[in-house]
Amino acid sequence: MSKTLLDELIEAGEYVLPGTTACPGCGSSLALRYVLKALGKDTILVIPACCASVYQAIYPKVAFNVITYNVAFASAAAVASGVRQALDYKGYEDVNVVVWGGDGGLIDIGAATVSGAAERNENIFVICYDNEAYMNTGIQRSGSTPPGARTTTTPLGKVVGFKKPMAFLMLLHGVPYVATANIAYPTDLYEKVKKGKAVKGFKFIHIFSPCPPGWRFDDSKTIEVARLAVETGYWILWEGRNVEGKIEFKLSPQSKPYLDPSKRKPIEEFLKYQGRFRGFKEESIRRIKEWMNIQWNLVKSMLRLSEEK
C-alpha cells in the first residue's frame, strides 16, 4: 500500500465512533468505517431495519457521526430517492445520499425498491453489507444465504434456492457503477466507494461481510474467513459500468488469479471454518460449486461483452 493512501485513510478520521453495540468482530461496522472515510461528512445514511439500525446504539446517543435516517425495512432506496430529489431541488447536489443496509433489506424485501431506484438511475449509493442471512433477527435464511448453510429457518442447511446475484442484476439495470467488495480488502472498498462518488447516477456496492455469531466462527477470524472467500473463488471482486450502452467489466486484481480454477483454494477450506456448514453434505458442496460456476460464467460473459467493440 502506498504511503499516501495510508495517510489519507488516517487523515480521513473516524465516522464510526467506538462503543457501537455491534458484535465483537463484526464485518459490517468495519466496512462502514471505510465507506464513510471515502464519502466524508457531507453524507446522509438511510438505514433500513438491519444490524446497523441496531448497532448504532440507543437513544439519545448514536455511534455514527453523520446524519443517519432510520427507515422501514423495504423502504430505504425509495426514501433515499426522495431525499435526493429534495436536495437536488434545493441545490445541494453534492451531498452524498447513501443507503446502508443488509442483504435482507436490500436483496429480499427491498429488492423491488432497489430495482426501482436503479431503473430511475437515482443519484444515490445503495451499499449492501452481505452477511448472508437475516442476522439482526437471529440468523434466518435470506435470498442471499448460500446453498447448504445452516440458519434457524434452514436447520438442516439451505436446500432450496441459490444465492441471488444482486450485483449482476444491478449491472443489468444499466447503471453507471456497480462493484463487489470484501472487508478483507478495506482499501479496495475505499477506492471503489471513491470511484462511485465521482460518478453521477445509481451506484451499487455489494460487500462480503462475514458474521461471527451467524456463521459460527471465532470473533478473531472475520478477516481470515473473508479472505478465504476470495481465495477460493467463492466471492468475486469486480467493477462494472454501463457507458453509452456498453457494459465495461473489470475483475479486481485480488480476484483476477482465480479466473483460473486451478489457482483457487479448495472450497472446503472456506466452508470448514464455519459452523454453519458443519457436517455439510456432499450435496451442499456440489450445489455451492454449481453456484460458483454460474457466477464465474457470468464474469466471463461480462468480460467478453466488455471486449466487444
Binding site: 440507543i58 437513544y59 435516517y69 425509495a78 431525499v83 429534495a86 451531498v95 425498491t113
Partner: protein, 379 residues
Amino acid sequence: MRMEIRDVITGNDAAAWGARLSRVEVIAAYPITPQTTIVEKLSEWVDKGEFDARFIAVESEHSAMSAIIGASAAGARAFTATSSQGLLYMMEMVSWAAGARTPVVTAIVNRALGPPWNIWTDQTDALMARDAGWIQFWASNNQEVLDSIIQAYRVAEDKHVILPAMVMLGGFVLSHTAMPVVIHDQEKVDEYLPPYDPPHYVLNPKISKPFAYGNILFPWDYAKVRLAIQKAMENAVDVIKKAAKEFHEIFGIWHGDLIKEAYTDGAEIVIMGLGEVAEQAEATVEHLRQNGLKVGVVKVRVTRPFPKREIAKIADNVSHVIVIDRNISFGWGGILAGEVKATLHEYNVDTPVTAKIMGIGGDDILPEHIEKIVKELIK
C-alpha cells in the same frame, strides 16, 4: 398565474391544482384508479415546464410514501395521491410518516377495497388510516378539494403541529365529475401559505450537524416521543380552525373548519356524514326544510383530530342524530357512527344515534333514500 381562473374541472384536476398552487416541490407518483389523473396532470405540467417540481415515478405506492417522507425530511414540500389498495399497500409508511413528523399531504381518492375488484367510491379505505397519526380532511365538492389541500399544508406544517395530512375525495363522484371551481391567484395562495421551513430537523449536512433519527430506544422514552403525536393532534384543533378562518378572510370561501353545519338552526334531527355523503344530505335537507321538516346537516369535515366538542354540542341540542356511513368496520358497524356514539358518551349527551350504512362500493345514495330514513324516524 396573475389572477384567478374560473373553470369547470374534475375533483382530480382540482387536487392537482391544489398541489400546484401549494408550490409542492417533490411529487411521488404511482397510478391507481380513480386517482391516476391527479398525477398525470401534475406530470404534464412538470414536463411542459409550467410547474417547477421534481416528479418521481416510483415503482409502488409503498415507495411513493417512502419517497415523500424522504423528500420532506430533507426539507421539501412533498405530495402524492392514492386510493384503496394503494393506500393499504403503503399503510406501513403512512404510519411511518406520522412518527417521522414529516408534514406531507396526500390526496386520497376514496375507492372500495377488494376482493372483488371495484373501482367506485367507498370510504373504508381512508378510515382504515385513522389510527396512523395523520390529520384527515374530507372534501364534499371540488372547490373544497382544491382548498383543502392548501389548508392541509398550512395545518400540517404549522410548528405547533408538524404532522402529515390527507385530503379525501369520493372516487368518481368527485374525482371524475366536473364542477365549477375557482383556481386561485398564486400570489394570494403565497400570502396564505408560506414556504416550508422545518422547525424540527432536516436531512442536510450542509445545514445541520450530525444526528440520527429514530434509532432504538427503551419503552419509557418511546411513550413520550409517540405521545407527542397526540399532543400535536390536540394542538391541531385550534390550528385547523385558524387556518379555515384565515382562508375565508383571504379567499372569501368557507368550507367549515372541523365541521360545517347547514340548516341546524332549530333542527330537531341532524344528519352527519363525510364528504360527498354530507353534500348529498344537505341537498336532501334543503328540500325537507322546504316541506317544514326541522332537519339539519353536519358535514364532518375532519375526522382526525375528531371534532368531539363540536359534535357533542350540536347533538345536545337536537332530539336525534342520524349518521350515514359509506364504510363499514366488519364486526362493529359504521365507523363514523361508532365515533359519534363514543363522543356523545364521553360528553354525557344522551341523544339517540341512528346509524345507517349506505352506498358501499359506490352504490348510489339518493335523496329519496335519505328522505326515507328521516321520515321513518319521525314516525
